[in-house]
């Protein structure tokens, strides 16, 4: 029998005897490694960018002059206001469209729900520019819709569907709708059914219940999605450009920096625009996150929470649901269909549908200039390799240790999620130019992709880790296995599913990245997204750009199917990608 004296004696020496020696050392080493990477590839360039924004061009000293100039200049103020307005409009549109959509998907028991969910969420993995291209072809001045309407004699001159603020709102809203729907969906399904039942018993009608119980309980989830939606116009420089608009913060920043680098004033205004966008994104996100965390209701509920409440809608509700879901699905489906039509045709101009079919576009991208494809696969794969090593190590540190600075690590990785890609691109361009000259080597491309996309992977790996019962690992250690062996023999196999989904999502997101890459590429380093942009926007080679985009959409779709298969449903996968944080 264990006697009390033994326990006292062993603990009496005053040392920590319950941890194997070396435990702390390996933890510290790991933490140091991770922080070295974070320091060099995240903190240093961002700090450099911040410093640069304070540099006064004439004297080379530091000061607030650039910011003063920026906020005094009427043009930049207008740009700032435009971006805010766009954010609000997109937020309003996605909210109005998303609320009924999410409610139907969360609560209605109807056939074909999985298909509709998949279709609704598709834009989350499609690059924004793919959607923009498709809608320009479809709704543009001489696009399919206008030509058809004129052919049928309904209108005489083409209507302006998309060139302007309204088009921008429409295209961005459709791109962001999945984020909104996902957040609301999580909100609706996470409400403990008994909370609504209690209201029912207390005599509340269904309408009253929705407004007094369901909607308020949904608010934290809604806001988590809303902030992503609202901030998007501070990030997306390309969609406005494609629609002929430049008076938005990220767009003007891109133009100033990419085209007018020699004009010192415009360069600094560009840098300040980037920093201002970045600060707004990060600041708003953090404020809201704190608020949401304080308000988090789900933590209160105890006992077993089944899947959320579901209802069998009556006939009218069912009809409305199908019409509405069909409408959204059709809008989403325009993207791959139109890209496909353009990709397999040539000379599709002034006709509602193409008439000349060819595989010529694919011959060009596969055989004539395969370099772009090769680059995309190579850069994404290398970035993935970096990402997996860093992400797994970081997830382990976050989930399983009490190492110093792990909260800060979590914080930095969260920051990266909301930081505009343009900020990373510009900061890399400047920081790795002279002082640490990596930007002259192609490795800068995968490095940038790695930094930009690893937070997604890290979050998924972390989430899987949190679901893994620590006692499974402890049992391995008690049986005599070391930390490393336990990781490879126990943790990794059990985490594999989550990691696999994370790997696929990482690849998808890295493959279509353009915001950062567009600042860093040099001749010979072009990736597929850059090829799409150059062919479309500068070269007017619509067919080739469409073929590239179509190839990307197909690739993404196949990868997504695989991920959904492994991850147990499209929703689980999308939740990982869509920024749900538990």
């Amino acid at each position: 029998m264990l006697k009390l004296e033994h326990v006292v004696k062993r603990g009496g020496a005053g040392r920590v005897f319950y941890l194997p020696s070396g435990f702390f050392r390996s933890e510290i080493l790991l933490s140091l490694f991770l922080w070295a990477v974070v320091g060099l590839f995240i903190l240093y360039p961002l700090f450099f960018l911040l410093l640069e924004s304070f540099k006064i061009a004439e004297t080379g000293r530091l000061g607030f002059q650039n910011y003063v100039d920026f906020f005094k200049d009427k043009y930049y103020l207008k740009t700032f206001a435009n971006t805010l307005l766009l954010g609000l409009l997109v937020l309003a549109t996605t909210t109005l469209l998303g609320l009924p959509l999410a409610y139907i998907l969360a609560r209605y028991r109807i056939r074909g729900k999985t298909v509709f969910i998949a279709l609704t969420l598709l834009p989350i993995v499609l690059p924004a520019y793919a959607g923009a291209f498709a809608f320009i072809v479809f709704f543009g001045k001489w696009g399919t819709v206008n030509l058809l309407l004129m052919e049928w004699g309904i209108i005489n001159a083409p209507l302006n569907f998309i060139y302007g603020l309204h088009g921008l709102v429409f295209i961005q809203s459709l791109h962001l709708l999945p984020f909104m729907v996902l957040s609301l969906l999580a909100g609706f399904t996470n409400i403990d059914p008994s909370l609504e039942e209690a209201a029912e018993v207390e005599g509340a009608s269904s309408l009253r219940r929705f407004f007094t119980i369901t909607l308020p309980l949904c608010t934290p989830s809604y806001l988590a999605g809303a902030v992503l939606v609202f901030l998007w116009p501070f990030t997306d420089w390309l969609t406005p450009l494609l629609l002929g608009q430049i008076d938005f913060l990220p767009s003007i920043a891109y133009i100033n920096i990419a085209y007018h680098f020699t004009d010192v004033y415009r360069k600094y205004m560009g840098i300040v625009s980037v920093v201002v966008s970045g600060i707004i994104c990060v600041g708003l996100f953090l404020t809201l996150r704190r608020w949401v965390e304080r308000k988090k209701y789900t933590s209160l509920s105890k006992g077993t929470v089944l899947e959320g409440r579901t209802i069998n809608p009556h006939l009218l509700g069912r009809i409305f649901a199908y019409v509405y879901l069909g409408f959204v699905a059709a809008l989403v489906l325009i993207i791959p269909v139109v890209l496909g039509l353009s990709a397999f045709s040539r000379r599709w101009v002034f006709e509602p549908f193409p008439t000349y079919w060819t595989l010529e576009n694919f011959r060009v991208i596969f055989w004539e200039t395969p370099q772009l494809l090769k680059n995309s696969f190579r850069f994404s794969s290398i970035a993935l390799l970096f990402g997996v090593v860093f992400g797994l190590a970081a997830a382990y540190l976050l989930a399983r240790t009490r190492a110093l600075g792990r909260n800060a690590l979590d914080f930095v990785s969260t920051l990266l999620l909301v930081l505009p890609g343009i900020a990373i691109g510009v900061s890399y361009l400047m920081a790795f130019w002279k002082t640490i000259p990596i930007a002259t080597h192609w490795i800068i491309m995968p490095l940038a992709l790695f930094v930009r996309r690893t937070p997604y992977f890290l979050r998924m790996a972390h989430a899987s880790y949190l679901q893994l019962d620590p006692s499974l690992e402890e049992a391995s250690e008690v049986s005599g296995a070391g930390k490393l062996r336990t990781f490879f023999a126990i943790s990794l196999p059990l985490l594999l599913k989550g990691i696999f989904v994370g790997v696929i999502m990482f690849f998808i997101m890295a493959f279509q990245e353009i915001s950062t890459a567009v600042f860093l590429y040099r001749g010979g380093w072009e990736t597929l997204p850059i090829g799409i942009y150059l062919n479309w926007h500068r070269g007017m080679e619509f067919g080739i750009a469409a073929a590239m985009a179509f190839f990307m959409v197909v690739l993404v779709f196949v990868l997504l199917l695989i991920a959904a298969r492994i991850g147990g449903g499209i929703l689980n996968v999308a939740w990982g990608a869509g920024g749900r944080r538990e």
């Binding site: 008994s194 005599g203 209160l300």
Partner: protein, 359 residues
């Protein structure tokens, strides 16, 4: 006629039958407990009374009004109060608003609402916490908010779905008495669902034992304990010894039987004479506290020799496990009983306490 009547209630989920043709009457002002293991259909029955589930057959009649057969009466129109297993206290509303919710819907004047909320909160011992949010309350306090909310409208019927299962043991014990006292004082007809037999014993006027979707026995707590209708009830309530043997003689006038067991002939009472017959296997049960340990054998009936295999000390009582012809019987005795493991003893199984029940 009962205040709540359940007529031939039937409910299935897919192929699983949750409630299997249940009949039950609950008197006005009575506290009735639905007791049974998890998955026995007790919660589904309760939810049918509330109207949160729609049965596939049968009806629930509350105060003479059918709830299903003549048009569905929604939960909001049934005038019931309900306490959920996880409290279901709305986290985005203050305590006051939680309790006032139903009163506001009933369009009761503001001053009256204030008065009644305060009254109810005082009743459940939450006075002064009106302006707290539920997250700032302990589990027990949240439980009381749920109770206050259910009581504030002075409902005709109070439904409680395992309301104490998320509380710690001490608090659970205390709340049992509080709930019983409160409900009795207000005279509300109450249906209480639990899987905890001690809770059911303390709180109920009558207990309805459920198993596999059916009601097995409805009776006051003492009758459930002392005269269980089936083996399931005997086993589910309290600690029981089962003795298996063959029935050799049955006196149907006095309901006394003689049973041949591994350790000798046992004389028992028969609770369900129609369910047993001579020559067949039968099961008798006896509670540990009804077995008496004797030092010596005077030749009486139902005394058998055995060996003590284990001695378990529980503070206020002492359990002996006695081996008896291959069977092991649990015997309860006072802590001062002077026996040790390995001792040979005689056990007296009083014939009137030894009962043959329906399988």
């Amino acid at each position: 006629m009962g205040f709540i009547e359940i007529h031939d209630l039937f409910k299935k989920y897919g192929k699983v039958v949750a409630v299997d043709h249940v009949w039950l009457e609950i008197e006005r002002g009575e506290i009735l407990t639905l007791l049974g293991p998890s998955g026995c259909g007790k919660t589904t029955t309760l939810r049918c009374i509330a109207g949160l589930e729609r049965p596939d057959g049968g009806d629930v009649v509350i105060d003479g009004v059918p709830m299903f057969s003549q048009g569905f009466v929604p939960p909001s129109k049934r005038g019931i109060g309900m306490v959920f297993q996880n409290y279901a206290v709305w986290p985005h509303m203050r305590v006051f608003d939680n309790v006032a919710y139903g009163l506001k819907i009933a369009r009761i004047p503001k001053g009256e609402i204030r008065r009644r909320v305060e009254e109810t909160l005082e009743l459940v011992g939450l006075k002064g916490l009106e302006h707290r949010y539920p997250t700032q309350l302990s589990g027990g306090q949240q439980q009381r908010v749920a109770l206050a909310r259910a009581l504030a409208r002075s409902p005709k019927v109070l439904l409680l779905d395992e309301p104490l299962s998320n509380l710690d043991a001490k608090l659970r014990e205390k709340m049992r008495f509080e709930i019983k006292e409160l409900v009795k004082r207000m005279g509300i007809t109450t249906v209480y669902v639990t899987h905890d037999q001690a809770e059911a014993m303390v709180i109920s006027d009558r207990v309805a034992i459920m198993n596999l979707g059916k009601i097995v026995q409805v009776a006051p707590p003492n009758e459930i304990y002392h005269r269980p209708a089936t083996k399931f009830v005997a086993d589910f309530i309290g600690v029981t010894n089962f003795i298996v043997g063959t029935l050799v003689e049955l006196d149907r006038t006095r309901n006394i039987a003689r049973m041949e067991t591994n350790f000798g002939t046992l004389i028992c009472r028969v609770v369900a004479p129609e369910a047993v017959s001579v020559g067949n296997k039968a099961t008798a049960f006896i509670r540990p506290e009804d077995i008496v340990i004797l030092n010596a054998h005077g030749g009486e009936e139902n005394v058998f020799k055995g060996t003590i295999t284990h001695r378990v000390y529980l503070g206020n009582i002492l359990y002996f496990f006695v081996e008896l012809g291959g069977a092991s019987l649990r015997v309860q005795s006072l802590p001062v009983a002077p026996y040790a493991e390995g001792d040979s003893v005689f056990l007296y199984l009083a014939p009137q306490k030894c009962m043959i029940v329906q399988e």
